[in-house]
Symmetry: D2
Subunit: 120 residues, 4 copies
């Protein structure tokens, strides 16, 4: 798969994977949302007992980066499965969210500060 | 953005969003991993006190689907920010993970059952 | 320890455990809050791919109940460590919260429905 | 409630709260485990965009400590509800876990290092 792989191609492959195993029956939205949280937690586990600097340096270690990449992939696969079940176009949603975030956080007042938009 | 939006385009837009606000300084990998978990949890909150059937029927409600789409987008945006910071090609990782999952869950023995591969 | 073990006794034992190992240095509040979330997620993992009825019946299995009990304990231990670090009296907070919940959810209007108090 | 409030007293009050509202019907173990995770996440949100030092200093702020105390209480209440449903004695489990942790992490080899016992 080329570097510019897109959501549709990945979703097609995931659906094929799921359906040849007859797993759609287990993939209620609730179960998928729960499983996505478990994968997000496995991603977070890579940060346990490490401070910012330790993680930034761990990322130079190929083993650590492989594990991080794999956990990121696991989260993405559940995102795609959820969107497929719910009829959501993930790329379009992400695009729209970047635009909305741009409106919530105007450059002039949010530049260089991390406050939530409700506190700006 | 067209329906086949890809990871690279979204990442480019996110990085531009981040850098015009000078926010890279707040985006340590640890903070991004933590924030991704908070967004995953907001997604899960849509399932709270609802059983499978109630969620499947909620998905017919445009408001609910909009909220679900927005939460999915939030998770994806943090995934992309993490991968950009860590030098990870998310599309490639996801593609590789589908292939590995295919090896861990051969069709013949995993068809129609939800057991973890370690229990097959 | 008797069945009516209380927060103070458990906290004392935990602090002794931590300090004989010189682990307080790792126990920043941020790390403890993160670790508590990882343990909460391990608890949730026991519900993965199981529906309500399957979990209710799994609870009859002593092995499953042991694992559930252990995950609950892990969450509690991090709660106690957080409260110890932050000078919070957990029993008092829980007691106060039950009272506040009683005010937010008056019996007459919340009886038999699961809506959030903001929607009552 | 005195400072040495114990699990049994709190559980009794919680059960009374729940049953006068006829809420047991919503409290499947799966729903309680999911809700506990949402509360753990609200606790973690207090650490978002703050580094260790900022959280340690935030804890001097009575408002912040109140919010932290309330989120800890929310997590505890769900723990108690889960244990009540599953017939688990939380105090006893926590006590047993401290003992097991003492065996997994002997003082001599774990003193001053944060490695997981599987890596010791």
């Amino acid at each position: 798969m080329p570097k510019d792989a897109n959501f549709r191609q990945l979703t097609d492959r995931l659906v094929e994977f799921r359906d040849t195993r007859d797993w759609r029956q287990f993939h209620s939205l609730k179960n998928l949302m729960l499983s996505l949280n478990l994968e997000a937690s496995e991603l977070l586990e890579l940060a346990q007992w490490r401070d910012d600097a330790q993680i930034e340096s761990a990322i130079e270690d190929p083993d650590f980066r492989d594990r991080l990449g794999e956990e990121c992939a696991d989260v993405l696969l559940y995102l795609l499965l959820i969107c497929e079940r719910a009829g959501i176009d993930l790329g379009q949603e992400a695009d729209a969210k970047i635009i909305r975030n741009g409106e919530k956080y105007p450059v002039e007042i949010s530049r260089g500060n991390s406050r939530k938009y409700t506190d700006l």
